[in-house]
Subunit: 348 residues, 2 copies
Amino acid sequence: MTTATIYDVAREARVSMATVSRVVNNNPNVKATTRARVQEVIERLKYTPNAVARGLASKKSTTIGIVLPDIADLASAEAVSGIESVANMYKYNIILANSCSDKEMEKEIFQSFQSKQVDGILYLGHSISEESRGLLKKLNIPVVLSGNLGSDDTFYSVNIDYEKASYDITGELLKHGREKIAIVISSFESPKAQRMIAGYKRAYAENKKSLDSNLIIEGYKSYKDASNGLLTTIQKNKANVVLTMFDEVAISVLHQAQDKDLKIPSDFEIVSFENTKLLDITRPKISSVFHPIFDVGAVAMRTLTKIIDIEKARSKGQEITEEDWAGLEEDKKEIQLPHRVVHRQTTK
Amino acid sequence: MTTATIYDVAREARVSMATVSRVVNNNPNVKATTRARVQEVIERLKYTPNAVARGLASKKSTTIGIVLPDIADLASAEAVSGIESVANMYKYNIILANSCSDKEMEKEIFQSFQSKQVDGILYLGHSISEESRGLLKKLNIPVVLSGNLGSDDTFYSVNIDYEKASYDITGELLKHGREKIAIVISSFESPKAQRMIAGYKRAYAENKKSLDSNLIIEGYKSYKDASNGLLTTIQKNKANVVLTMFDEVAISVLHQAQDKDLKIPSDFEIVSFENTKLLDITRPKISSVFHPIFDVGAVAMRTLTKIIDIEKARSKGQEITEEDWAGLEEDKKEIQLPHRVVHRQTTK
DNA sequence: TTGAAAGCGCTAACAC
DNA sequence: GTGTTAGCGCTTTCAA
């Protein structure tokens, strides 16, 4: 079975391909009667435009590429879900690529995205290397980052304000009498971790409490990492509150605390910064800095559509309207979604 | 910046486009020196073939489409991860689409996949409607199902043997003296659930134990669903062992049991049929029928690549070699991966 | 309001 | 081994 082409429709409807194209693309310059006739033939022939041919001719693919370190990670999956929902709304398809945090891989992915002519790229992940940043820039394709920060202002990015989030929760705990608060991060290299630490330090400073740098603990990002005695490390440093960058780490600490028969939250408190749905299926439920992951994905995608439209207008030499810019500022490319502290059952 | 085209390369290397095309596609019919010269120009010009143009000319997109009910679901995400890993190996890109289990949505997705000329489709989900099955058939694109069954033999599918898995665990429990085993499923409509029930019943029959049909409990697929007193329902029917179709349900039951101070596993036992990594981050860890979700995705994708190759050969009128068929049988399209019962801490 | 025609960048006969 | 050429199915001027 060969599918109908625009040419078949044109012939059947006794018009030119151009007219069919106009009808399909809702171009207003078609007489109503002609439009109706073409429509009828389209339905009769079950004509669907070939997106590939269209892409070649128009240099648009209505496809966006997503690069992320690991799709099996729950937070990533939730973000992708948010992305998908708005992509769907705007009729974009999404191509997914796992980078495994590998630079070579990323390079290949970018190339493949370029070759597939994606209209935009969403880069998710806890950090982005300078090389990748450079490659992305050269691609000349609209890009939005999420889950990681623009250290410069080349790209738009969508996140929560990690510094402030960290500051808020640390400050709150300090004000309520906690002194020794441990903070567990993946690595000092991670910009997200850096911001968390910055907020943490600022809170200590403003509350005039002395900070023990041993309480900043590096090297934990999964349940497994942490299950090898992280709690002992925390306790060795006399902390009885811990802030974790990842939910899995929080859960691991919780289990270790339970194994040691610590009373939670009276003896020991836990707050996670990730906030996937995992936190709701532990007992007790783990308190967290609420971080709307789905929304972050959705907003990132929405932002990308705006940039794509602006770039399109720009390349056509068109005026860019206020409406196009709605909600975007050229000089402030870091978009931050609101966060809030959610006390579940692992904080007093 | 305009990217180089095959034509630029041809001109610079003083050969025809055809030769460049041959070099790019590793066609052996090129003299080594010519090949080298072309390669050099390709690198100098940073030429990357345009996949869209290529797709239009060759009617292949090196892209496969994945339809699934919910990407934010952990099991789906793990399967996608498996798919991605082999897709990457075979240089396919993947387009992801959330169907939200909605038929209209699926229809649109299939159309969009068709229009994007995907080389194959992977359909994940607990069940597939007759309509969708029909649409998929008409598409004339290779399809592999996973997570759900082919009730007929139109499509290849990759799963574990749910009937046998259910039979195995039920039989084992019955042999060890349990009498009242509850089984919690999403819905009687689900083919997967049906097979689980079939295995469950077969085990009861073979062990000559009487089965109480109240123990087959329908309507639970998430933590939330279950948290509304599922345990009570189970206990009302005097069961002290439960098999759940989903991990979240198992976790919910576990928590309810803990709330009631049931001793686990001595008073109450739990086995899940899903086996995501969630089961490892509960305390106690939940026993399960081990189900290699990542592998199921990987094998499904691998199967799809084989079918694509076979169809390609077929459409060219080529002989299909033994090698092409490796591991595939035309008359047995249900591929089943091995399962095994994993006793963690919620079974005696 | 419509049509003609020139590509978009590549592949794949077919010819040499 | 290599080149020529005719599309693939569509968009998009430009002209009518």
